[in-house]
Symmetry: D2
Subunit: 359 residues, 4 copies
């Protein structure tokens, strides 16, 4: 259970690190949307490993194939099945993983829950699982842009203790893609990249923070009380691997203010209702208010490190384990398209829900 | 849409601040659970306004009535309908609210989304909406305790800038209930309460942080990839009014550590697999690992303040609005039972899902 | 589980024969729909027992109260809670039912499934459960009529072996309500009513067939492959108590024809695509084709009869049971509003789904 | 929308007649179930065209490939993705279908609903769509048999006006597979087969009736009130292409009896509660009662016939269309595994729901 996301634009992902591949089925896509693999592949390229010196060197091309749901380049309203084949791998490199649980990975909990797990490459818990999300999210972003002019963006704003300065309302996709870290602060990025390379040389890893934004979201999206927009965004983000926190608008810092300091005054600007500050993060009472949506996601440092660590084996005996082989010191640059994808999936689902109930 | 939560232990809440009352229908409750109003009322009493000098003085008894789903004191497996009648109110006190949008409330977004809103008392956006959740959560807590020994607890750990010292694994319900703030740090609580009273005297308000914990959760609850336990907890918490952030285990602070520092080593202790630290917060790969579950929720300061603020009216003309009448300076003590309720609803739903798939 | 129906116009019913009453919560209703109890009560009056000499003499007024979801006579887009209080009853009349299972009722299966059941009046298995559906259906019918001009109607066409002649495309609501049977064939109805009264005098009961129709349904409603319009109608009808069969269009008789005989030719009539016959029943490939929707529902004879019958008791010992007291010889007249309600709920849900995906 | 079926054993199907293939993703399968393609292929072989002289001569091997969700021959509890590649086809044979709507097919309704359709081979409305259901159903049947000893079977009992004599409680799988019609009445089958061949030689087609049964179903499966077992079976059957009716137990014939005649008496036989007749069809109050489940499904005659018929083209102009090429005179033998599959999917889903709530 748990492999389906969304109500009206609903995706179901499948697949493991090894085996026949990974994929996604999208149900509920509006018909007559232009769609080919060329719409999807760029975000998969942003997600794939091996794209730069600060991510895992694992080499995969992650080429997507659309198996159903389009005809003559347009969606038909029927399920869209997308598939990325797994590439060859050297299975012998992984043998120790079959016997020992990697600390702060999901090996032990999958073993305990299911009693049987696909251990090579982490199986379903591999970051390859996110390929289906990113593929579906690329389509969702395209529809949001075409129909409502909504722009979904994300970027790295912090690596371990190093913080970038980013104007959430102004940074551009070009600035994000200008460096391998996907941090639009060109001045801060080099030191952050250097820190990652330093950790990698130590056989260690880092985490950090990704900022997600959505611009031009119309007022009215979101379904109180349980499916508030920020609630669905929070779930979407915490469903990504390695996430530890989510905050919207003023977030945890907001608790330092008083109500009078924190409130966003309303003003009429050129006939439109706007807030003159945006501590609400673009969402009030669970519904978008027309201001840009801002949120931040905390990613923990990558769990696989090249050091001996205490753990237990599958017979629950104490032992140690040392990470070997390909080492990903930082998930952040690859997390950027994941955050964008999940954001777009949440927004498009609520857009369609809004059309159904309130149009 | 959006008023149902959960898959197997599924609740649907209804009701507004004014009108026939508020309530909840629970579908999927196991049969033969002892249940009377006496199981529910205590948590409603912890949630209701007027219980102390640091919450709103609005006086409501919030007496729950079970309308269906039990027979001779036991649940029957059929839907449980619980209802809390609204008490009398003076409608004239609210007239300005019909014409002007309160800043950082949901008045504007409801108006824009639905085109018609029950403005008295905030209608559906009133905190009264949470009564149904707290009632259902009280039942979920009871079942979790009886079947699996799971203990769900929450407490206040921060008010504006004042932080308490709380051992997440040791604090008790008695300590929480020992003061009106529901902060188990008896040394810190008086200053925090004083700060709230100070803000109230200024016609202002504060926010803060609530810690949620669940102890004795068996290993194996949670459904990757989208319905990870932390993802459903994040959604549950961000669906509560006034929340701005959620973090589990190491949370946002966790990004300051390296992977080697952050990982939780496994050890065999008396035949059980345990982690010797708990930066994972009791959840790994979206599944409970047997360690206590820890998370923190940020609540913004209450939006209603007794000061003149800029806003617009329903014709979108610039104006000002000043809060009047009953003033709630701090939602935190009342948020504690809400956090417990939502936690219990998530856990019980996943417990039943686990029984269905993996038992 | 199983007490919620629909995806976008979603209802959850609750309540038993005895206790606090029965009710429904509707989530997803569009805002700004005029709604008061006067819109709902007429269909409840058509459903309630005691309305004529051929139904159960049990006297209930079944007065509905709207507890939430409207403001100043219009829906607000938030959940609509409707409640019908149970009237006083003489509990002593039912004691034998606590010890013995009524043949062809749900007493035994509820006992075996849940281990504890509200036996008075049949508890949740009482026909009172349908009150919530009929209340929600009355609202759905109103919206369908106002927005799309869709007319939903049902009528009795067969009682035991006696068949009426009814033109599915022409009969009117006035004809249906012209007699206590709700059969628009004024010539046939008297003999059918006489047959029911005959069975009642024998302490026995009858079943029969209800025809359901929906006129002016736009082309395009329905969601293949699993949520075909006829599939959702079939589920809706078989979810009504005492139903044994469903057929759409040509139905079971259709198997006697060859393909060439059975096919509905298309023609352009005044610029619209029509079928010159309607063996499809208004649905092709799971999607409405613009022709009237026709289907028939089989209701078995009422299980409670005033005769001694073999059964077992709660200790599974052989015994006998004789129905006593109030005796309902025929559910058909009261089933008519139930069939209309479920039809309207299916259609409105699909109308909203169509708006979301294809508009 | 509408391409997902089930709650706990949930399947999502995708794919069209032409293009990348057809498939299914199963979410919620219990872990540690032995599973290879060899468990699935036999039912696909029973479903595929070209298997005998009385079905379509279209030749497809329909070879299934399991892409995910198993490891070392056992399910892992993660999504199972199964894929059947489409074979080569001569696209030029279909050109007329792109311009004209086939009578009593879904061409017109898909065109009207989605505005764009994959016309080759009928696209998503092709019977190839059922491959995913049959594949998932084969797994569901296996689990039902292994865990609860439940046996799911179906067979043909009527072809046009010719009726077989079949004892629903006694016929065997071997008898079903003994002839190409899948009718266990060896005496009646030859004439029924001859009738089909006669219709084929006339360029025409026939429909008929399929009987579905489930034996050894434990008492207690089914979730009133909307998800009654017969309601979910009705939906499942009416979601199959070409179905026009469903009846359970006594069905439409049951309305000819009085209540006293129709009721199923309970008796204790060897310590178990049984009914001495089975007009209930194994389901009472929406819950299985331990007796065999019996139901019948009406399939209309195949819509494609080799005769000139009136229709309209995509510009809604009157025209005629004559079926050409491969001609399937009777869907019934291939419908048998489809009915079994949908039955198994409904039963397994309810089995897991029962475990979750009532165990």
């Amino acid at each position: 259970m748990g492999n389906t996301f969304g109500h009206l634009f609903r995706i179901t992902t499948w697949g493991e690190s090894h085996g026949g591949g990974v994929g996604v089925v999208i149900d509920g896509c509006p018909p007559r949307v232009p769609l080919t693999e060329a719409d999807i592949q760029p975000d998969l390229d942003r997600r794939r490993p091996g794209q730069s010196s600060i991510t895992t060197p694992r080499k995969e091309t992650d080429t997507v194939k659309i198996l159903s749901g389009t005809f003559e380049g347009l969606t038909t309203g029927t399920p869209i099945s997308m598939w990325v084949k797994n590439e060859d791998f050297r299975s012998e490199a992984y043998n120790e993983m079959s016997e020992k649980f990697r600390p702060s990975h999901a090996d032990y909990t999958y073993h305990a829950k299911y009693g049987h797990r696909a251990w090579p490459g982490g199986g379903r818990t591999s970051a390859r699982e996110t390929i289906g999300r990113v593929a579906a999210g690329a389509l969702a972003k395209k529809i949001l842009k075409a129909r409502w002019g909504v722009e979904v963006l994300a970027c790295v704003t912090q690596v371990q203790h190093l913080k970038a300065t980013v104007d959430a309302d102004a940074f551009t996709s070009e600035q994000v893609e200008a460096n391998i870290l996907r941090c639009p602060d060109a001045a801060a990025a080099p030191a952050m990249i250097e820190l990652i390379e330093q950790r990698r040389s130590e056989g260690d890893s880092v985490g950090g923070i990704v900022l997600g934004v959505a611009r031009n979201v119309p007022v009215g999206w979101g379904d109180p009380v349980f499916d508030r927009l920020e609630a669905d965004l929070a779930k979407a983000m915490l469903s990504l691997p390695a996430t530890k926190g989510f905050e919207v608008g003023s977030g945890f810092e907001g608790v330092l203010l008083t109500g009078l300091q924190h409130n966003d005054p309303f003003r009429n600007v050129d006939g439109e209702v706007v807030t003159t500050s945006n501590r609400s993060g673009g969402i009030q009472g669970g519904i978008s208010n027309g201001a840009p949506i801002h949120f931040r996601v905390a990613f923990k440092p990558v769990a696989t490190v090249m050091h001996e660590q205490d753990t237990v084996d599958v017979q629950y005996r104490d032992t140690t384990l040392r990470g070997r082989g390909r080492h990903d010191p930082c998930v952040l640059p690859r997390a950027v398209p994941m955050v964008e994808a999940m954001t777009a999936l949440v927004l498009l689902d609520h857009a369609l829900r809004h059309e159904a109930q309130c149009r």
